[in-house]
Amino acid sequence: MTVLILARDLDANADEMVSALYERGMTVCRVNTAWFPAQLSLSAALRRGRWSGHLRTPAHTVELEDIHAVWYRSPEAYQMPAELSPVERHHCIREAKYGLGGVVSSLPALWVNHPSRLADAAYKPVQLVRAHEYGLSVPETLITNEPGSVRSFAADGRTITKLMGANTISEEGHRKLSWTRVLGQHDLDDLRGFEVSTHMVQRWVPKSSEARVVVIDDRLTAVKILSGSPASYIDWRSDYPVLTYELIEPPVHVAHSIHALMRSFDLVYGALDFVVTPDDEWVFLELNAGGQYGWLEAKTGVPLTGYLADVLTKGNQ
């Protein structure tokens, strides 16, 4: 039995997972899709309704039929030969997506998480509706590209905005990041560029703390995150050095709702963010199906890598 890890080359959590799986006696094959085609090849034949064959890396060959668990961590885009024209390159990428990606995603293994389930769970508007459906409190939310709508929403109370997709772009030769912002009057007075895409704004939720809940199969680890600066009070991601952490237990009904939400998305792993109000109400913000956990393991001592390694070791048995 083999665990297939799909991850970047430089990934401390993947390194730790390789070690953890070896300690459990597992066969591991770690693959970065960016190695394809220069350092990664595939040969798969359809036999009796499933793909049989192998993935070959410079040092390992994994038989597809031996794979009983897959950790879809953060594999990178295929790297096609530089001499290809743009059209040729995209042809190759597209064929690799459907060929290599298609074969791998069809494997009857335990997936943490399956890429199609990641895609389903990527939409925050879907998450919010689903979270409410399963009994979680969610913030009052508006998604619009109409300036009048956001002004009207903001007139009713303190309002924040945050991006629905990636919070990073590449521009002017470097990476840029965006955190949750509280809207001020100057933001509302100048809504140029608002019409060109949709924006999400939410009512500010009074907070005593925030919490990240890491779900690994049926295990739930909740960590209270206390801010230590004005910026981190708005968005804790903006100022990690001042944060403090504390293990907590979420209310039972919240834990039940979290598990139901995870099941509804068919996710084995997820990192969910909540605001905890002064009245101890837990308000769901978002579900990160590929959310980070390594720094929480380091801060709290909870063996999250081990929990995940146990799940991958068990696989689809």
């Binding site: 080359d9 040092a59 995209h90 895609a119 990636a166 990041l177 590929g290 390594g294 380091a298």
Partner: protein, 117 residues
């Protein structure tokens, strides 16, 4: 752009990338485009700020295919040496480790022949 390529770019809801989403390759040169004027620039990008320079970068490393982990120049696994446990500010966002952006950005695979975000 061919019709086939345009189909990917113009899929309004679920891109084909999302069927097997892949992350931005490490080392991809950053886009050098300048921001558009305020009259044009998407309002949602007003909060974008350059990545803090406090993030730690791993400068000397390579991937060891046999051991299946990243190693330093001497061949010692990074997770056994100076790299230490993951921290939020190690390396940079979306570049292979815990970064100021705590979640992975999967949906990179370019569906259209232009530079990725």
């Amino acid at each position: 752009m061919t019709t086939a390529l345009a189909r990917f770019a113009e899929d309004p809801v679920a891109s084909d990338s999302a069927q097997f989403p892949l992350a931005r390759p490490m080392g991809t040169p950053d886009n050098t485009d300048a921001p558009s004027p305020d009259t044009v620039r998407p309002w949602g990008l007003r909060g974008m700020k350059a990545l803090p320079s406090t993030a730690q970068r791993i400068t000397t490393w390579r991937y060891d295919h046999a051991r299946q982990v990243a190693v330093d120049g001497d061949g010692t696994p990074l997770n056994e040496t100076r790299m230490g446990p993951p921290t939020a500010n190690k390396v940079t966002s979306n570049d292979g480790d815990e970064g100021p952006s705590e979640d992975f950005t999967y949906d990179f695979v370019p569906d259209a022949p232009f530079s990725p975000a």
